[in-house]
């Protein structure tokens, strides 16, 4: 049973294609989405597989944390449960400032609840334009994406409304969520200038319609022209998207004598599970999703664990439910 949780932030450095395998639309290979909201996501099974892969090495620990191989799956369960990766900040083309990071009150409320559950201190309230107000966007004071009092994203214009909480949220993401390291200093600092909180419908439309759709072809080796029937389109999450996934850890599901020696001694074995994952992935670059050989799906990972035991906060917040 889960006793502790942590949050994994995933920042896409190249477009990411977590394919859903089914298509009824215009894109041949669409990405995975949440059924109710339509927001992009990465299914937990894919993320967990990737984490397991990166952590490979100490087979004994890997099996305790992630569970045994399929053939022996019924021996015991893994001690780690991975949630779906959800979108937090999504980049959209902007008339001023090249691109903006958009989010919405729903997304922020849901994130806040999960972050607090994982023991993180969240010092801001999820805010957003009133539900009836489809034409306003919240930005920080001195935002870099405002031109003449308007935020123009793709072909859509919103009235910019400055709000102090936006800066608080940006500051929090800078400190806690964005990748660490010098190469990200510029990006962390520009977050406040680029952050836009959109009305719910506008946010949903952007994450549904402004993803990157890449057309691909296969060339016939001898003729050097496109092979017949070999044109297809793939949908990708654009680079500079910030996603997060919640990790839940429980006590190891094996007998004490089957534990590695250094874990036997530990007072807090749940902590050991998270520590194992943190050491394997924190600050690293992972490859998620398809098209690895054409450079897609590189994400920079940040592992954030709160203090103390995981606590579910009240489920009565507005929004934020899947």
């Amino acid at each position: 049973m889960f006793d502790r949780a942590a949050i994994l932030f995933l920042y896409t450095e190249t477009p990411l294609h977590a394919g859903s395998g089914t298509s009824l639309g215009i894109v041949d290979l669409p990405i995975q989405r949440e059924r109710t909201t339509g927001y992009p996501m990465i299914q937990a099974s894919g993320l967990k597989g990737c984490l397991r892969d990166v952590a490979a090495g100490d087979t004994q620990k890997v099996e305790i944390v992630f569970g045994p191989e399929t053939q022996r799956a019924s021996d015991h369960a893994g001690a780690l449960s991975v949630g779906d990766a959800r979108v937090l900040l999504f980049p959209v083309r902007s008339l001023a400032g090249v691109f903006a990071w958009v989010t919405s009150q729903n997304v922020l409320a849901r994130f806040k609840r999960e972050a607090e559950m994982a023991g993180l201190q969240v010092n801001w309230e999820p805010i957003g334009p009133a539900p009836t107000d489809d034409g306003t966007a919240f930005v920080a004071n001195g935002s870099g994406v405002v031109a003449n009092g308007r935020v123009v994203l793709e072909e859509f214009a919103f009235t910019a409304q400055e709000n102090n909480t936006v800066a608080d949220i940006a500051k929090w993401f800078q400190d806690k969520a964005m990748p660490q390291g010098d190469e990200y200093t510029y990006w962390r600092e520009s977050l406040e200038k680029r952050l836009v909180i959109l009305p719910e419908n506008a946010f949903r439309d952007f994450v549904q319609l402004s993803t990157e759709v890449i057309a691909r072809v296969r060339i016939d080796d001898t003729k050097k022209t496109v092979e017949r029937g070999a044109l297809w389109t793939e949908e990708h999450l654009p680079s500079e998207t910030l996603l997060y996934a919640t990790l839940f850890a429980s006590k190891p599901r094996v007998k004490d004598d089957e534990l590695p020696d250094d874990w036997k001694q530990a007072n807090d074995r749940v902590e050991k599970i998270l520590e194992f994952v943190r050491e394997a992935v924190d600050g690293k670059r992972l490859q998620l999703g398809g098209d690895a050989t054409v450079g897609r799906g590189i994400v920079k990972v940040r592992f954030v664990e709160g203090q103390g035991q995981a606590q579910a906060t009240s489920g009565t917040q507005t929004g934020g439910q899947p």
Binding site: M1, R35, S45, S74, S81, S250, K255, Q311, A312
Partner: protein, 375 residues
């Protein structure tokens, strides 16, 4: 001690049915909705076990004092549930800061030209039928065509229905949950390609905003769970859910009248198991009532097969599958009659196969009692 648990998923949930799901052949996993009481009791008892600090091995052996106390509280892994008493699970929806519960639709509700009506037993059929045990046909006097209807009704509507009024609105399952189909693959580690025969399709449940599972709990306290709110591991893939302890809601479902009306019907709100299939062996209804009652008619949709897996260490390594048993589904209605005075014993409307823990204790056979009249 009595409270309600409201259980909300972290993202998606999977409660598999008993159909095979193995590499290369049966690649599709489907989800039950709602989960059965077996699933919910397992999640709750595991939560209590992990919050107690007793190791699973010590709990199984029951040698220490703490382990024995725990066994008294939540039973042994094999065949008892200790003091725990559950009622549900049902659905709950948050409406204006209040949780409204929803129950499976009773099967005697039919759709009749755009609205709903109730089937009732015929007094004396003018025909012969092969219905067993002299049962009467459920009937509605109308020249219109009747349609079967499935879904859920709110607690207010259920209360009125028990008084003999057909509901005004029936909620479809899709108002509470979406089924999210997900393809999955396995990657061949060395070659970085998809592993042959490892493509699968799983159907997850995504509850809509504000929708939760609701279960009434007795016998344990919120301290045993580890607090007023917390995390549960629920269903397949070890998915996470949050629970929140609520004061048990004011009972909107009327408690059964005592004594029972001359003609009363028992509506199952969760599945039930009976030794004789749809009824107790030999029609022994006496175990649920004081006084003698007579079954007049019954409306029972298709059986629901429920199996599962044992998780205790010993059986899991052998034949870990539980026997698949046929249950009478939630929504089934039994019409009874009595001539003298009869009252309900208050026991859940289910029996338990020998060698199993009491089904009634973990939420099977939850029922409501209403009245009826001949058609």
């Amino acid at each position: 001690m009595s409270f309600a648990l409201v259980i909300q998923p972290h993202d998606v949930l999977l409660f598999r049915d008993g159909k095979p799901f193995s590499a290369g052949t049966d690649i599709r996993a489907r989800s039950l909705f709602p989960p059965t009481p077996f699933t919910i009791q397992g999640a709750i008892r595991a939560r209590v076990l992990f919050s107690s600090g007793v190791s699973p091995a010590a709990y199984v052996s029951g040698k220490t004092q703490e382990a024995q106390k725990l066994q008294e509280l939540i039973g042994t892994p094999k065949d008892s549930y200790g003091k725990l008493q559950l009622w549900g699970p049902f659905l709950a929806n948050q409406e204006n800061d209040r949780w409204v519960r929803y129950f499976p639709l009773p099967a005697d509700i039919v759709r009749l030209s755009g609205s709903y009506a109730l089937l009732q037993p015929l007094k004396k059929s003018p025909w012969q039928s092969n219905l067993p045990a002299g049962l009467q046909t459920p009937w509605l006097r109308t020249p219109e065509r009747l349609e079967e209807v499935r879904g859920w009704i709110s607690e207010d509507e259920l209360g009125r229905y028990l008084g003999g009024v057909a509901p005004g609105k029936v909620y479809d399952e899709s108002e509470f949950v979406e089924r999210e189909h997900r393809f999955g693959i396995a990657i061949e580690r060395a070659r970085r390609t998809v592993r042959e025969s490892y493509l699968y399709l799983a159907e997850f449940l995504r509850l809509k905003e504000g929708v939760a599972f609701w279960v009434d709990v007795e016998g344990i306290s919120e301290t045993d769970l580890g607090g007023k709110t917390g995390l549960l591991q629920l269903g397949g893939e070890a998915r996470a859910a949050y629970y929140e302890v609520q004061q048990a809601a004011p009972d909107l479902i009327p408690t059964p009248p005592n004594p029972l009306p001359d003609r009363f019907k028992v509506v199952l709100l969760t599945p039930a198991w009976f030794s004789g299939g749809w009824q107790p062996q030999g029609g022994n209804w006496g175990q649920f009532f004081y006084g003698s009652v007579r079954l007049v008619s019954a409306i029972i949709p298709r059986y629901q097969p429920i199996g599962g897996a044992y998780v205790d260490d010993r059986r899991r390594r052998g034949a870990f599958q539980k026997p698949m048993r046929r249950f009478v589904p939630a929504g089934s209605v039994y019409f009874f009659e009595h001539d003298g005075t009869a009252s309900w014993t208050g026991r859940p409307f289910t029996e338990t196969p020998s060698g199993e823990g009491n089904y009634g204790q973990i939420g099977f056979g939850a029922c409501a009692i209403g009245k009826w009249n001949y058609a």
